[in-house]
């Protein structure tokens, strides 16, 4: 067995959903999603068509907080703006895979990125969904990832529906003019899949060392539990080498898994490394 950390297993599992069909627009710099797309592009999905910021058809880039945007443009074949992107990709049914995260997620596939508590006078005002409301409905695959699988995040019903898959089963999606494809949820405990309007999410696999009951106990919505639940594939040495040495040498993905007081110092460490590399070019 190779030594790996949970964010690396999650990155590999999200990457497995990325294929050569359709276009993926990456939006905000979300390190785990970015790393997954790059890993897919360097391994099994070399023709995956990626858009980062307004850079269309970008080459695989090394992840960094300050450089992700600039590197996206360096290898891209086209520079659009937001409206051309939504008209040409999202609304024209070219969207492939979209990996999102949210404050709340429920058993119907709805996400809440708007508010905890009353919408008009919230206890916590969240950032808002940007294009997620439309994107998770229209893209062929919806992938949601959560670094902390618990019943406060994976809830029975979100308090506010910022967006939802709307139709889930392949047939009902096609009848509604949408691309057929599943909802895949990747957490720090398990992989959950929903591909039928009338059936709940089922546990597709549990990660090594996690038992099924732990997953059920930490999920706020109903789960279908197959008689035999396999174990999620562990990252291979090749995947780990790519992630650690070529895709994410600064460790940006792990930042989202560092909690509390260590978070700021971890971020400062990454930024120092980025600064030093850039400053070295000037001397």
């Amino acid at each position: 067995m190779t030594d790996y950390e949970i964010h690396e297993l999650m990155t590999c599992r999200v990457a497995a959903e990325v294929d050569n069909e359709g276009v993926t627009v990456m939006g905000s710099f979300t390190p785990l999603a970015y790393a997954s797309y790059m890993l897919a592009k360097l391994t099994h999905a070399q023709d995956a068509y990626l858009v980062g910021f307004d850079a269309v058809g970008m080459a695989p880039v090394q992840l960094s907080f300050t450089g992700a945007e600039a590197s996206a443009y360096k290898g891209a074949v086209c520079r659009w703006g937001m409206l051309t992107e939504i008209n040409s990709i999202h609304l024209a049914n070219h969207g492939g895979v979209e990996a999102v995260s949210s404050a709340q997620f429920d058993g119907s596939g709805a996400i809440n990125l708007s508010a905890i508590g009353p919408f008009d006078a919230p206890k916590v005002r969240l950032p808002g969904g940007a294009g997620a409301a439309e994107v998770i409905k229209m893209y062929r695959k919806m992938v949601a990832y959560f670094g902390n699988h618990n019943p406060r995040t994976l809830v029975d019903k979100v308090q506010f529906v910022t967006g939802t898959r709307w139709k889930v089963g392949d047939r009902s999606r096609e009848e509604a003019g949408l691309q057929p494809g599943p909802i895949v949820v990747v957490t720090n405990l398990a992989v959950l899949v929903k591909d039928d309007d009338d059936r709940p999410f089922r546990i597709e696999s549990v990660h090594p060392g996690v038992d099924v009951q732990t997953v059920v106990d930490n999920t706020g919505f109903e789960l279908e539990v197959p008689a035999d639940v396999p174990t999620t594939a562990e990252p291979t040495q090749e995947q780990l080498d790519l992630l650690r040495n070529r895709i994410d040498p600064f460790g940006t993905v792990k930042f989202d898994f560092v909690s509390g007081r260590e978070r700021l110092s971890y971020l400062k460490g990454i930024l120092d490394a980025e600064w030093n590399r850039a400053a070295a070019r000037l001397s």
Partner: protein, 304 residues
């Protein structure tokens, strides 16, 4: 003849006279990229109040305006400080009820701007069905049907900002404006607004624009004022000139959640000129912020 003799070119100090209290203002840029931050700072210096800001994916621009008391209303689809957390002053304003807001879906906001830019009262699309957002705003979102097939669609009412402020790489005196990297929603905002202010890294002669005509995203007939503002997107990025200043953003985020510290941060901006801001914040760091763009790497040998 210098291009600066044209009446559209004005100094940043005049910005406060081009935007009136209570007007709706669309701010360009997205994520931590290319927000018109020099203009944001100048509106604060000018003491503008009651501004109805419109942003697609806002960040430090909206939070700073909220902290300075400039905003009367915020229309947005997302405002976030990403790795640095939620936007504390936007969050506080909405949670306390002191900042009225309209939350759009991302595509809905762009389509509202597009409708206005095309002279349409609304545009239909296959909307965010199942989202709770449209039902909150019947004056913006409606259900309509395709006249040919009967398919249910979402209609978004045209959105016309009084002013759009966008930050370009360069513009000439006629307002012909070019972007190289991230332009985000800038062009749609400019086409929808009654008046357009372009801030830019540099004002250039028309011939520079002509020589790079493929980079012109906004022709001058849309543009009312051109303002030269070097490092005008700082601390957000303006690729390919400079990367985002994560260090200043980290300092901002730390100050933003502390009422005394953010009051001091805003007071500092109010009492200095934009030139003073650059001297204070950039010090000799401008070359490293530019070098970060060069240092950003592709993964060698990988297929595009």
């Amino acid at each position: 003849m210098s291009s600066r003799t044209n009446g559209k070119v004005v100094p940043l100090e005049n910005l406060g006279e081009l935007v009136r209290d209570g007007e709706s203002v669309a701010f360009g840029g997205g994520w931590f990229a290319n927000h018109p931050m020099a203009a944001v700072r100048q509106l604060i210096r000018a003491g503008r109040t009651g501004i109805h800001a419109i942003t697609v994916v806002g960040s430090v621009d909206m939070d700073l305006l909220a902290a300075a008391g400039t905003l009367g209303h915020l229309s947005f689809s997302m405002v976030t400080l990403e790795a640095f957390g939620l936007a504390p002053n936007v969050r506080k304003g909405i949670e306390s009820g002191s900042l009225p807001f309209t939350e759009y879906t991302g595509l809905g906001l762009l389509i509202g701007l597009e409708a206005q830019g095309r002279g349409m009262p609304y545009l239909p699309y296959r909307g965010p069905f199942g989202s709770d957002i449209p039902g909150r705003y019947p004056e913006i979102y409606a259900t309509t049907h395709c006249p040919f097939t009967g398919e249910q669609l979402t209609a978004v009412r045209a959105l016309q900002p009084d002013v759009a402020i966008v930050h370009a790489l360069r513009a000439d005196a006629e307002g012909n404006a070019q972007w190289d990297g991230t332009s985000g929603p800038d062009v749609e905002m400019a086409k929808a607004a009654k008046r357009v202010i372009v801030t830019c890294e540099e004002v250039v002669d028309r011939q520079v624009i002509v020589d790079n005509a493929h980079m012109t995203k906004l022709p001058g007939y849309y543009v009312d004022a051109v303002i030269e503002a070097p490092f005008g997107a700082h601390p957000t990025s303006h690729v390919p000139r400079y990367a985002m200043d994560a260090w200043e953003l980290m300092d901002y985020a730390a100050a933003a959640s502390d009422p005394a510290a953010i009051a001091e941060y805003v007071a500092q901006i109010r009492e200095e000129t934009e030139e003073g801001y650059r001297a204070r914040v950039l010090k000799d760091r401008d070359s490293v912020l530019s070098a970060l763009v060069d240092a950003a790497e592709l993964i060698e040998g990988a297929q595009a």
